[in-house]
């Protein structure tokens, strides 16, 4: 009974962001990193699952040296173990390359019943790594999960509620499964001082492409079919108009302007 949780380190949205315009990749070293907000829910769900079903939980992150911070945080929260996938040839991987490397790590951990992930990352913002990962591993894809109703590790089944357009879909899936979670599924806890102290001293195991048996031509910048070719700042919206005057006049003016746009019928 093993649960893996994939966490990504992302730049704080408020931070100043620097790009390597030559390579079209982020200069991740230059920015304040945080745990991807959705992945905090994934970690919490993994911990709740551990407490309820007495399974083991392993956290995985792929990223540069600094990505170990998010893993250390997971250790402080109480996961059983962590793995840091780090290899120069992985830098610049597109979503497929990322999913491919995560899949290799999950196979190496072995006997993983559930992979928990966030619904999307706030930097890549693609939300496609979970679906790709499930397809690569042949696991059941269960995305946008708002609630895990029950897990039957012996019977290899899980029942979840998925938040999709128009409502909630209740789905039973076979295990192993990839489960991506949305905000509101739980309230992530904070690490306590003892956890932080313990985690600070722990060794973070690193896995390279060779350790994972990854063919280098499948991953990294050179292998990615999708490539960033240009980065630009979107043109500023034309200067807006602040309506001034008495409330009655302003409301009249705004209502007319909006009706002129012919959106309101």
């Amino acid at each position: 009974m093993k649960v893996a949780v994939c966490i990504k380190q992302v730049p704080d949205t408020e931070a100043e962001i620097k790009w390597d315009t030559q390579k079209g990749v982020l200069k991740r070293d230059s920015i304040d990193p945080i745990t991807n907000p959705f992945d905090e829910f994934a970690v919490e769900e993994a911990l709740l699952t551990k407490e309820k079903y007495d399974c083991e939980v392993y956290a995985i992150s792929m990223g540069p040296e600094r990505a170990q911070d998010v893993l250390r945080n997971a250790l402080a929260l109480g996961v059983n173990g962590v793995y840091h996938i780090m290899d120069e040839s992985l830098s610049g991987s597109d979503t497929f390359g990322t999913a491919y490397a995560l899949a290799a790590a999950i196979k190496k951990i072995g006997d993983v019943d559930i992979v928990l992930m966030g619904r999307q990352s706030t930097d890549g913002n693609t939300g496609v790594v979970p679906g790709e990962l499930a397809a690569i591993l042949g696991y059941t894809p269960l995305t946008y999960v708002a609630k895990i109703r029950e897990i039957d590790f012996q019977g290899k089944k899980i029942v979840v509620e998925r938040a999709i357009e128009g409502g909630f879909e209740v789905v039973e899936g076979k295990l192993p499964a990839v489960v991506s979670v949305i905000k509101g599924i739980n309230e992530p806890r904070l690490p306590n001082l003892m956890g932080i102290r313990k985690a600070a001293k722990m060794e973070i195991p690193k896995w390279t492409c060779d350790d994972l048996g990854i063919e280098k031509n499948k991953v990294g910048l050179s292998a990615s079919a999708t490539k960033v070719v240009e980065i630009s700042v979107p043109p500023p919206k034309s200067q807006g108009e602040i309506l001034k005057g008495e409330l009655d006049e302003i409301a009249e003016a705004l209502a007319s302007k909006l009706l002129d746009l012919k959106i309101i019928k």
């Binding site: 979503t95 979970p130 679906g131 938040a163 999708t226 630009s232 909006l258």
Partner: protein, 327 residues
Amino acid sequence: MGDVWVYIEHREGITSPLSFELLGIGKKLAQERGGKVCAFVIGENIDSIVKDAFAYGAEKVYSVTDPTFKTFRSDLFSKAACGLVEKYGPDVILFRSTTQGTDLSSSMAGKLNVGLCADAINIYHENNVLKMVRAAFGGRFNVTVANERAVPKLVTVRPKAFEMPEKKEGQEGELVKETISVPESDALTKILDFVKSAVTVNLVEADIIVSGGRGVGKPEGFALLKELADLVGGAVGASRAAVDSGWIPYEHQVGQTGKTVKPKLYIACGISGAIQHLAGMRTSDCIVAINKDPDAPIFKIATFGIVGDLYQVIPKLIEKFKAKLGK
């Protein structure tokens, strides 16, 4: 072959016009490469969807019907879709970046060993290379992604990023019916139930959104926003601050950790305009900000701004709209 395929999403045979929105941009991309714009539909009873796909401009429609495809399940639909792709070899496949479009495209990408460009806000060919523009870091940057090699090239597109194609009733094209059936025992999932949400208007599809933030101050305030939204035919959105305060459910949250929306009109009431909120709505066509703080950052991206108390401004606006709309 430069064929461009468009996935037509539906829920058990039910579509909205937006299900067909990508046939417009699909046609343009196909013409740029001398190919055809084709729709593909998977389901159980989909005859009327096929008809509508032609009406919205599909030159060819691939349809796969089987009882196991009654409800969307990405594990099964992606098998059928990959089967079609392997047989007919499209150049580009477009999906909407809804939950269904994202599920299907990502499953296909994993199965077909190809990358995927997600949530594009613009797509075009340049020297025969497919380029996609997407917003990054809360829309502070636009990133252009090129896809030179993948076969096929999978792209998900932000809903409402392109003009709706015109619907011409009775327009016809070539229909290709494929029989692909997957035994139910192969299915990894079983749908047990669908609980309709209490939210009547889907935020992502709405043309008008009236959104409230911490400035609304209390749960009852959202009733006022709802009144305005109902009057103008819109949906109600919210900032994270309002959601976290428990005034309105998470389903309404707009922003980096909520929904990304692109309505024609976004009315932000009592929202300061934090970068994470802007991430979800800055590509809206027209933005109206109502805020009592003249220095609130939301005014920087607003098309029209009103500095004032929303509890005075909104009732006045409602009054004016009622008079003008004759309601």
